[in-house]
């Protein structure tokens, strides 16, 4: 029997749902293969979250608590993970694929001499390690991968697995941790434009995404109206983040975020492969575009050909009616 460790990501004072998805999946895998599942929380207030994590059935929860984790910095995070790994001695460490994970996954693999697969959409345990599926070529196709070795790291795209609660009274183990300036190596000088209380796109049920077609003020106004009616997160194509119209953290696609909401409404977005790479696994896709040949229509469940300035007002109006 070996240990499967799940990293629990915290963002804006909340547990990232995607890490609980990973934990749910790992627990099922562990049951099948007779392993045990443990979790690790690394945060300035790590202990605050243990109760919630227990709902998902790990047998142990490691916490590493230190003010340094208030903001993301790779050196202390790596050091903390190294300590936990030393103690838990896992054969697999699984992460939700976040920007923070991406920052450290390679380094951690090198440090632990572990095999690593990033950004997988599914994975399962095998005799020697794991087998995993990864979208490649801008998510146009899937590759099948194997990772072998005594320790394997994997990061998982959000929305890959369903949440499944199974409460446990997991033992909480606090890991002693301190940092000095030398450990930090880099100085975090400022956090710019944290998107604050806006909806986290990687967890949003509904996303309204704006593209170059909705670049002007009036377009932006309509987008936020639509998002309000649907209680949706607002995302953007690169055309808008590049132009400074939208915050860069809202970019969806190969460079930006990968999302998989129940409903994705693409407004004035052409559907370049690099954008589609980030949203093609949405459950229902609606596209509003005035060009009937726009590639976005090839993947849309509902395509409205028309000028967004004409389409959105009645669309919003009708949705309001439905809501009330």
């Amino acid at each position: 029997m070996s240990t499967l460790l799940t990293h629990i990501a915290i963002s804006d004072g909340k547990i990232k749902r995607s890490s609980l998805e990973v934990l749910s999946h790992l627990r099922r895998q562990a049951e099948q293969h007779g392993h045990q599942v443990e979790a690790v929380i690394i945060d300035a207030e790590a202990s605050r979250y243990t109760g919630q994590v227990q709902q998902y059935g790990p047998s142990k929860i490691y916490t590493v608590e230190n003010p340094v984790f208030k903001n993301h910095l790779n050196a202390p995070l790596l050091k903390a993970l190294e300590k936990v790994i030393e103690q838990a001695d896992p054969s697999l460490v699984a992460f939700a694929s976040t920007e923070s994970t991406k920052d450290i996954l390679g380094a951690l693999a090198a440090r632990e001499e572990a095999a690593v697969l990033s950004d997988v959409s599914t994975f399962e345990l095998t005799e020697e390690g794991i087998r995993a599926t990864r979208p490649v070529m801008a998510a146009k196709i899937l590759s099948e991968n194997e990772a072998r070795g005594d320790m394997i790291l994997v990061s998982v795209r959000s929305g890959s697995y369903d949440l499944e609660e199974q409460a446990s009274d997991a033992e909480v183990i606090e890991i002693d941790f301190s940092v000095d300036d030398q450990d930090l190596r880099a100085t975090l000088e400022e956090i710019i434009s944290s998107s604050g209380d806006t909806i986290d796109l990687s967890e949003a049920e509904t996303i309204v995404a704006a593209g170059r077609g909705a670049k002007d003020e009036k377009g932006q106004q309509l987008i936020s109206e639509l998002a309000d009616v649907l209680n949706a997160g607002v995302g953007a194509s690169r055309a808008l983040t590049e132009a400074g119209v939208m915050d860069p953290s809202l970019q969806i696609g190969q460079t930006g975020k990968v999302v998989s909401p129940q409903l994705y409404i693409a407004v004035g977005i052409s559907g370049a492969i690099q954008h589609v790479a980030g949203m093609a696994s949405s459950k229902v896709i609606v596209a509003i575009n005035k060009d009937p040949d726009a590639p976005i229509f090839d993947i849309a469940d509902y395509g409205i050909v028309g000028d967004l300035y004409d389409v959105l007002p009645p669309f919003i109006d009708e949705l309001k009616k439905i809501a009330s």
């Binding site: 390679g106 572990a114 590759s143 991968n145 956090i191 009645p314």
Partner: protein, 255 residues
């Protein structure tokens, strides 16, 4: 400042591809300079143009990858090292080990990588290399500047952007959101032929056998479940908009 930029030749993801017996076949074997690396080259050029210094590119790949090195030289990089391999490609950890052994005896201020390969989106090599070389690093940089012997990195994080100061020498992996890479001028293309390019055979680096052994393997490729185009509504916007809104409620149950 001395910049080393690690560049990779990748298949053009815009070119048509197909899967035959689990293998990935590109109709044209078109390759390009990884877009994220192009941004890394661009940024290194901008910084050395401002602060003085030199940009050297390093590429691991087969002989045909020289074309990609030329592209970076034509953009303005000053020199290049080509670590020549046979046909096959490796996983990120092998590339990182090879790069690490190359950099062992080199002097530099900054090593730049792309944040990920366009074809595999792995995003691992940069931080692996930093770990091997024990360098402070940052990934997913969207802006760089140099100040007081430090590299200041604006990093796109999960929620907002982090402004991080790294002491030199350091490593940074670059997003394409950082700039528009310049298109080489004709003069640049002509000069690129005469710029120094050193070719090192992989064997000459004397890397540990075990470091060259991949711990991961691609065992096959598969089509994605095809997403069929659904209904397309053309006509009076007033009509179609309301119709689709109702369908989202009644048929798709998502509002």
């Amino acid at each position: 400042m001395k910049f080393y930029v690690c560049i990779k030749q990748v298949p053009d993801i815009d070119a048509p591809i197909q899967i035959k017996n689990g293998n990935l076949i590109q109709d044209t074997d078109r390759t390009v300079l990884n877009a994220y690396d192009a941004s890394a080259v661009e940024e290194a050029l901008v910084l050395t143009e401002k602060h003085g210094g030199e940009v050297e590119v390093v590429l691991i790949g087969p002989n045909q990858a020289k074309e990609t090195i030329r592209k970076a030289l034509a953009m303005g990089a000053h020199k290049a090292t080509h670590i020549e391999t046979r046909e096959e490609s490796y996983d990120s950890s092998v590339y990182a080990s090879i790069l690490a052994s190359f950099f062992e005896d080199k002097d530099y201020d900054v090593i730049s990588c792309g944040k990920q390969s366009q074809d595999t989106d792995a995003g691992l090599t940069g931080s692996m290399l930093a770990e091997h070389l024990d360098l402070p690093y940052s990934t997913n940089a969207v802006a760089l500047s140099a100040q007081n012997g430090q590299l200041r990195v604006k990093r796109q994080g999960d929620a907002g952007q982090e402004l991080i100061a790294l002491p030199l020498p350091c490593l940074v992996s670059c997003s394409n959101d950082m700039n528009e890479p310049r298109i080489p001028s004709l003069k640049g293309i002509m000069q690129s032929k005469r710029k120094p390019m050193e070719t090192i055979a992989l064997d000459a680096l004397e890397i540990d056998e075990s470091a060259l052994e991949a711990k991961t393997a691609v065992t096959g490729y598969r089509e994605k479940p095809k997403r069929e185009a659904g209904q397309k509504f053309e006509g009076e916007p007033e009509e179609t908009a309301r119709q689709v809104a109702r369908l989202l409620d009644e048929e798709a149950n998502v509002v």
